[in-house]
Symmetry: C2
C-alpha cells in the first residue's frame, strides 16, 4: 500500500468538481461539490445517530437501499435540516443532477452542511447544475472547497493497494471542524474506490471501520445532525470481486482504514480554533471498548483541552477525565505520558504524580501534534482517539457563526 495523489479522483473512473452556485452570501467561497463515477458502483453509508437528522440523510438512505450509487452531491452553507420542505429540496437536488447527467435520481448520494433550520432555496442549485457538471474532471481540490464550512484546510488523501496482483485505488475527502463528536457515524466524508467489492461487504467494511476511525474523534462534544460517511466502489480496477471475508477483504479494509485514519487526524487538527492536534493512545485496558471510552473521555475534556492550549502538563485533568469516563479502570494502576517530536515524558505512574521537568514538559507540549499515552495495566485493550485543544478562536468562531 502506498500513498498517491488525487483524493476522490485517484480511483479509476471518478471525476469531481466544486463551484460557487450562490447558496452562501460569501461571494468567493465554493458552495456545492459533485463526485461522479463513469459507471454505477456498490455503495454504502453510515449516518449520524442524532435523533434530529438532516433531510439529505433520509433521501440518501432511501436512494442507496439497493446498494448502488453513481454520484455524490453536497452543498455547504445550509444544512437543510429542521426545514418543513427539506426532503423535497434534497429530492429535487438528486433529480436535477440526474437530468443533467442522464443518470438515475436514486443513484445519487446527497448531503448538506451548514446552518440548521433555515430553508434551503433550490434556485441557486438548479441554476448552477449545468456548470457543476460541465466542470467535472480531475478536480478533487475544487470538490474539497465546495464542502468546507469553518474548515481552514482541505482534507484529501488517496492510497493504492493490490488485490490478487491487481492494482486498486481508494481515496477520500472530508469536511468537519465544529460540531464534531460523531456517534456511530460521522461528519461528511466521501470515499471512492475502483476496487470491486460487493455492496454487502462494502457496508460491512465501512461499519467496522468507523468504530475505530470517525467515532474516535471529538472537537467539541456536539454530535451533528448531518454526519455521514459514504463510499462508492465502482469496480473499474477489475480485481476479482470481493464477496466475502478473507485476505482480499482484509487488504481492502486496511486500505480503507489508511484513508479514514488520515482524514480523522486532519479533521481533529483542523478543529475549530485549534492550534494543536491531540492523539490519545490507550493501552492495557480490559478490552478495546474500555480503551475507547477512556481515550474519548480524555480528548473530550474541556479542561484538559484548555490545558493543552496553554502547553500545561496538568495530568490531574487526564486522571479526572479517566475517572468520570464510566470505564472500568483501576485508578491506582494508571500511567500517563506526554509525547511529541520533542520527546516523551512520564508524568503519572500508579495513579500518582512522579517528579518530572516542567521545562521539558513545556517544550514537548508546545508542539502542534501531541500524544497522550495512557497505560491502564489491566489487559490488552487498545484504542486511539483524536481531538484538539480548546482556544479563544473556538469561542470566537462559534459566538457569531450565523451573524
Amino acid at each position: 500500500m502506498k500513498q498517491i495523489v488525487g483524493g476522490v479522483c485517484a480511483a479509476k473512473g471518478f471525476t469531481a468538481n466544486g463551484i460557487r452556485c450562490g447558496i452562501r452570501k460569501n461571494k468567493t467561497k465554493r458552495d456545492i461539490a459533485l463526485i461522479y463515477s463513469e459507471v454505477p458502483g456498490s455503495a454504502a453509508a453510515v449516518y449520524t445517530k442524532n435523533l434530529v437528522k438532516g433531510a439529505p440523510l433520509t433521501v440518501t438512505k432511501n436512494n442507496i437501499e439497493n446498494g448502488v450509487a453513481q454520484a455524490m452531491i453536497c452543498n455547504s452553507g445550509n444544512a437543510n435540516t429542521c426545514n418543513a420542505n427539506g426532503i423535497e429540496i434534497a429530492t429535487m437536488t438528486c433529480e436535477l443532477l440526474a437530468k443533467e447527467m442522464g443518470i438515475k435520481a436514486d443513484d445519487v448520494i446527497v448531503a448538506s452542511t451548514g446552518v440548521i433550520g433555515q430553508p434551503l432555496d433550490i434556485t441557486p442549485i438548479a441554476d448552477g447544475m449545468a456548470e457543476l457538471v460541465r466542470g467535472l474532471g480531475d478536480n478533487c481540490d475544487l470538490a474539497c472547497e465546495g464542502i468546507m464550512t469553518t474548515d481552514t484546510k482541505k482534507k484529501e488523501i488517496a492510497f493504492s493497494f493490490e488485490i490478487d496482483g491487481v492494482e486498486c485505488k481508494i481515496g477520500g475527502i472530508a469536511k468537519g471542524s465544529g460540531m464534531i463528536h460523531p456517534n456511530m457515524a460521522t461528519m461528511l466524508v466521501f470515499l471512492t474506490t475502483d476496487c470491486c467489492v460487493s455492496s454487502e461487504m462494502l457496508k460491512k467494511a465501512l461499519s467496522r471501520d468507523v468504530v475505530d476511525s470517525f467515532n474516535m474523534i471529538s472537537v467539541d462534544g456536539d454530535t451533528s445532525t448531518n454526519d455521514m460517511v459514504s463510499i462508492i466502489a465502482n469496480g473499474m480496477a477489475a480485481n476479482d470481486p470481493i464477496t466475502g471475508e478473507g485476505e482480499a477483504y482484509d487488504t481492502f479494509c486496511e486500505a480503507l482504514h489508511a484513508v479514514t485514519a488520515y482524514l480523522c487526524r486532519s479533521i481533529a487538527a483542523d478543529g475549530e480554533g485549534a492550534t494543536k492536534m491531540l492523539e490519545c493512545v490507550v493501552d492495557g485496558a480490559l478490552d478495546n471498548d474500555t480503551a475507547r471510552t477512556v481515550a474519548k473521555s480524555v480528548i473530550c475534556s474541556s479542561l484538559f483541552k484548555a490545558a493543552m492550549f496553554g502547553a500545561d502538563a496538568n495530568w490531574g485533568r487526564v486522571l479526572c477525565a479517566i475517572g468520570y469516563s464510566g470505564a472500568d479502570v483501576d485508578v491506582t494502576k494508571v500511567s500517563v505520558a506526554f509525547k511529541s517530536d520533542k520527546g516523551e515524558i512520564l508524568v503519572c505512574k500508579d495513579g500518582a504524580g512522579v517528579e518530572f521537568s516542567e521545562d521539558k514538559a513545556k517544550e514537548i507540549l508546545l508542539e502542534q501534534e501531541i500524544q497522550i499515552i495512557i497505560g491502564l495495566g489491566d489487559g490488552d485493550g487498545h484504542a486511539v482517539a483524536w481531538g484538539c485543544d480548546l482556544t479563544y478562536d473556538y469561542v470566537k468562531i462559534n459566538g457569531d457563526y450565523r451573524t
Copy 2:
C-alpha cells in the same frame, strides 16, 4: 419561608471562620475555612461519582458513617487527590482540629479543593489551626473566601422556615466555577441547619435534593474528583424531631431546596469566564428523567454555550443537543423559546423554525440571565438545568491554571 442573612452562621449554634494559612503561594487569598456547631448534630453527605476520588472524601465518608458531625474544615489551593499520602494528611487535619477544639476527630467533615496530584503539606494547616479556631464567629463571608478557587463571587444564602410553629433556619455556602458537571453528587457545598432531623431523614432529604439541584448544573462537562455536599443539622431550634416522612419533612425539604437551588444558580452564573447564566426549563417530557437529560444536554453543548456568549439565537444548536441527548423525544413536536428580563421570543415550533425578529432576539439574549424554554409535547415531565456561556476567559483561565 423567608430569605435571611448569615449563610452557614444563620442557624442557631453555628459559627465560622476563614484565614490564609499559607497553602497557596498567593499572599492575600484565604485558603482554609472552618464551620463549627456548638453541639454535635446529624450529618449527611453526597460525593462525586468520579472513580478518582479526593482523599478527604474517603476520610469524611468514614467519619460520618455514624450519622454525626460537629465541624466542617476545607482548604483551597490543593485538592489532596492522587497523592500517595492523601488519606494521612486528611486524617491529620481532622486530628489537629479536634485537638485544638476539644471535639472528636471523627466528628469532622474534611474537604479540599484545588490542583490535583501535588502533595499537600500539613505544616501550614498545623501552624494556622489555632488562629482559625480563635476567629470563629459570625464570619460566613470569611469561610466563603477560604474555600474559593477560581470563583469570583461568594456564594451564600440562608432561609428561615417553621416546623410545627417552631422557627428553624437553614443556610449554606458553595464553591465551584470550573470542573463543574456533578454526577450524583456535586462540587463543594456546606449546609447548616438548626432543625432537628434524624440523620436517616437528613440523608434521604439530601440525596433526593441533589437530583434536581447540583446534578443539574454544568459549567464545562468535567466531573470533579472532589465534589461533595455535606450538611449538619444540630437540632438547636428544638422542633419536634423529624424522624419520618410527612408535612414537617416536606417543609424541611422545601427549605433545603430553596438553599440548594440558589447555590446552583450562583455556581452557574459564576462559571469560569461566564458572562451569562443559562437556565434551561424543559416541560412536556415523557417523565422527569427525560426532561433532565434534555435540559442537561442543552446547557452542556459547547456550541450552544458559545452562541449564547455571542447573543446569537441559533436555536438549531438547541435542537441538535436535544437530538443527541439520548432522550426519548419526538423531534417534530419540539418548541424552543428564549426569555430574559427583556421579554420572551418563540424561535422554533414543531421541530422547525418560525419567523422571528432577530433584533428582538438579540435584545433578549444580551441580558445576563437567559432562560431557554423547551416544550416536548409528550407528557408531564419537567426539569430545570443551569449552566453558563463559553467565553474567551474560560479558555484563558484554564490554559494556565497551574502555572
